[in-house]
């Protein structure tokens, strides 16, 4: 497989992650979307490394430390979410976590209630 085609596929995966982050509303779906973006970044690092810079170890170091820190952040967010539950299933699960809302109240920060 050529690097060019691989890059197209990776860019498509990246766009998929980006679109899903913007659209989904549930906590787990958002996490999975973020993981898709991270997967595209990691594939990008390794594809370039495989085809162009096979002798370097720089990409492995970057990917290791980058993913390590970002996964610590991700785990902390997950831990915070599941540690702080109300005990009422409906409230915890049905809450809308859409990241980019464009409604009037979200634009100016006013409460609906």
């Amino acid at each position: 497989m050529k690097l060019q085609y691989l890059n197209y596929i990776i860019f498509l995966i990246f766009l998929l992650g980006l679109c899903s982050v913007a659209c989904v509303k549930k906590f787990l779906s958002i996490l999975i979307s973020i993981q898709i973006i991270l997967v595209s970044a990691t594939l990008n690092f390794y594809s370039f490394s495989l085809f162009l810079y096979s002798l370097t170890s720089w990409d492995k170091i970057f990917v290791f430390f980058g993913l390590l820190t970002i996964y610590i952040f991700l785990i902390l967010i997950v831990f915070y979410n599941y540690f702080k539950q109300t005990g009422l299933y409906q409230i915890d699960v049905l809450k809308d976590l859409n990241l980019f809302k464009l409604s009037k109240s979200d634009w100016w920060g006013e409460d609906n209630n």
Binding site: A41, W58, G66, L99
Partner: protein
């Protein structure tokens, strides 16, 4: 050679190796001491932890400055520490000092106070690492570490109502969701930055932006794609319009100390990330029509959104947050002026740093008072600016209320006072507009530079280029003036609300907020708690007093701002005093960076 000499030599070599991170070493000692009584709730130990932290921050500022002037700039594979990094480090430590005052006032009686101080110190440490980092991997890792620490700090600050695993009130549940939304957005921006770095690695295989600029690989389209993704991620990270929803929602509900963390650590971190990419920005932005237009658009959106948002709201929190957006918009317009050749690189950096200093100097005292009032009037009651008028009803607080009004009036100076002056003491925009010959000269110089670089492959004539830029500059100036005018209107509005003597509005608001609270909490059976809060508020409304220390502290800021304004006037009329360089004015940062 005795064992003692060997030991001292070992210590000496160790100290030599950790340069320029002496400040971090001091913080680590403070954290080590804190660990011994981390879970203690004794008052004396809490005071001790405040003293330790204060001493550590002041020592870190002194040691950073002294060691830099002794050892000079530092550069290695991972880090770079020059005069610019020194200024930024001192600025962050200065902000940390102010935030620590805020934390101490607001959270002293909480059980987890020592833990909050510990998390705060770790945040400062990671921030210092981030400032000094030069390598791409180090920049990214330290940036994520800063955000992780800010996340831990904010969650522990908002862990107010219940210490167990279950959230007991509806309000707490809402705050939790807003915190999640806020940090998920920053996590997305981190992931985007990671993607951007992967493209830059793919095109160059180099380790820092300076190395990339030194080679011709900077013109590679894949590098440009990576940079576009990184700048978009910073846009998202700073919650600029229309992505502000998570930020605006959180600031309305979270603990007041968290606001200072978000304004002065989180958003400042985003701005410094922008400054870390300054060499790339300087390279691409100079005379680039597309970047200029994009910057103008973003600046205009920020200024309009920020001003309209602050005019629409009565909440102090949201007013200040939207004003921060306005300042951000003015900074982005300054970036536009750089790309159109009116400002040079050093002036742009001066504008960034001095404006951030000035914003901090105004926000801290104002919000210190606001947060105290908020605590007394219970949560959402202070949502309305009209509650400020309770200050005047108390005879003991007359001087205090006058100070507050003067502080509010001084707000416009955050635009005028520092950063927007040229070396000759003129406003750069007005000077250029009045003297159209110099503007024309600057644009023709810009055109010459672009022709020499031949990087944009310009096919347009000079006249067309000049006319396009003139239009852009006049539009930017128009919005700059509109932004400042709106800011003035906002300030006048706040002053009028404070001065106006009408208590009926606030009383109606109290009743309506009580009703909202009762309705919201029905689901979680916390009506009793809510009634307790309401009764407490009624008592607080009658017995309302500040402690002596709380009364005296804002005066320091007030004196600082007054002195700063006097120096500004002196600078404006070209009078520079002999001891000018010794004071702690934001203008001195300009002199230092010159």
């Amino acid at each position: 050679m005795t064992y003692l000499d060997g030991f001292f030599n070992y210590i000496k070599s160790l100290v030599g190796k950790i340069y320029p991170f002496y400040g971090i070493a001091i913080f680590l000692i403070a954290i080590f001491l804190l660990l011994f009584y981390l879970l203690s709730t004794k008052k004396a130990l809490k005071i001790f932890s405040i003293i330790i932290s204060f001493t550590a921050i002041i020592a870190a500022i002194s040691v950073s400055i002294i060691s830099f002037f002794k050892n000079g700039p530092f550069s290695s594979y991972l880090f770079n520490f020059d005069i610019f990094e020194l200024v930024i480090t001192c600025f962050i430590l200065f902000l940390a000092l102010n935030i620590l005052i805020f934390i101490s006032f607001k959270n002293f009686y909480r059980k987890n106070f020592n833990k909050i101080v510990l998390f705060f110190l770790t945040t400062v440490i990671s921030f210092i690492f981030f400032i000094a980092s030069a390598n791409l991997a180090m920049i990214f890792s330290s940036l994520v570490l800063v955000i992780i620490n800010i996340f831990i700090l904010i969650t522990s600050l908002n862990d107010r109502f219940s210490l167990g695993s279950f959230v007991k009130t509806y309000d707490e549940h809402i705050v939790k969701n807003y915190i999640l939304r806020f940090f998920l957005v920053s996590l997305v921006s981190m992931a985007l930055i990671f993607v951007g770095f992967s493209y830059i690695f793919g095109a160059t295989d180099l380790k820092s932006f300076v190395q990339i600029l030194e080679t011709e690989k900077i013109l590679n389209p894949i590098v440009k794609v990576g940079l576009v993704i990184i700048f978009s991620a910073i846009y998202l990270f700073l919650f600029i319009f229309p992505f502000q929803s998570a930020y605006i929602r959180l600031i309305k509900r979270c603990d007041s100390t968290s606001l200072t963390i978000i304004w002065f650590f989180y958003l400042t971190c985003g701005l410094f990330l922008l400054l870390k990419l300054r060499f790339v920005f300087f390279y691409f932005a100079k005379g680039n029509l597309y970047i200029s237009t994009a910057l103008l658009l973003i600046g205009v959106i920020c200024i309009l959104g920020g001003n309209i948002g602050s005019i629409k709201t009565f909440s102090v929190r949201r007013t200040l947050s939207f004003i921060y957006f306005t300042v951000l918009g003015l900074l982005i317009l300054a970036m536009f002026y750089f790309s159109s050749g009116i400002l040079n690189e050093k002036s742009l950096l001066k504008i960034f740093i001095s404006n951030l200093v000035f914003v901090a100097m105004l926000y801290f005292p104002f919000f210190l008072i606001a947060a105290k009032l908020e605590e007394h009037f219970q949560d959402k009651i202070f949502d309305n600016l009209a509650s400020l008028k309770y200050l005047k009803n108390n005879k003991n607080l007359k001087y205090f209320s006058i100070t507050l009004i003067i502080l509010i009036i001084l707000f416009p100076f955050l635009v005028f006072a520092n950063g927007y002056l040229t070396e000759k003491g003129q406003f750069f925009i007005l000077a250029n507009l009045v003297n159209s010959k110099s503007l024309s000269q600057r644009i023709s110089n810009l055109f010459d530079i672009i022709k020499d670089l031949n990087k944009n492959n310009l096919n347009i004539s000079f006249e067309l280029f000049k006319q396009y830029y003139l239009i852009l500059i006049y539009v930017a100036t128009l919005f700059f003036i509109i932004g400042i005018l709106f800011l003035f209107i906002n300030i006048i509005r706040v002053v009028i609300i404070v001065i106006k003597r009408d208590n009926s509005f606030i009383d109606d608001k109290i009743i309506s907020v009580k009703n909202i609270n009762i309705n919201l909490n029905q689901n979680l059976d916390s009506k009793i708690e809510n009634n307790k809060l309401s009764n407490k508020f009624e008592n607080n409304k009658k017995n309302y007093n500040f402690s002596n220390l709380e009364l005296r502290l804002p005066k320091f800021y007030y004196i600082y701002i007054t002195v700063s304004v006097i120096f500004f006037v002196l600078l404006l009329i070209n009078i520079i005093l002999g001891f000018f360089n010794l004071s702690l004015l934001p203008s001195n940062l300009q002199l230092l960076l010159r």
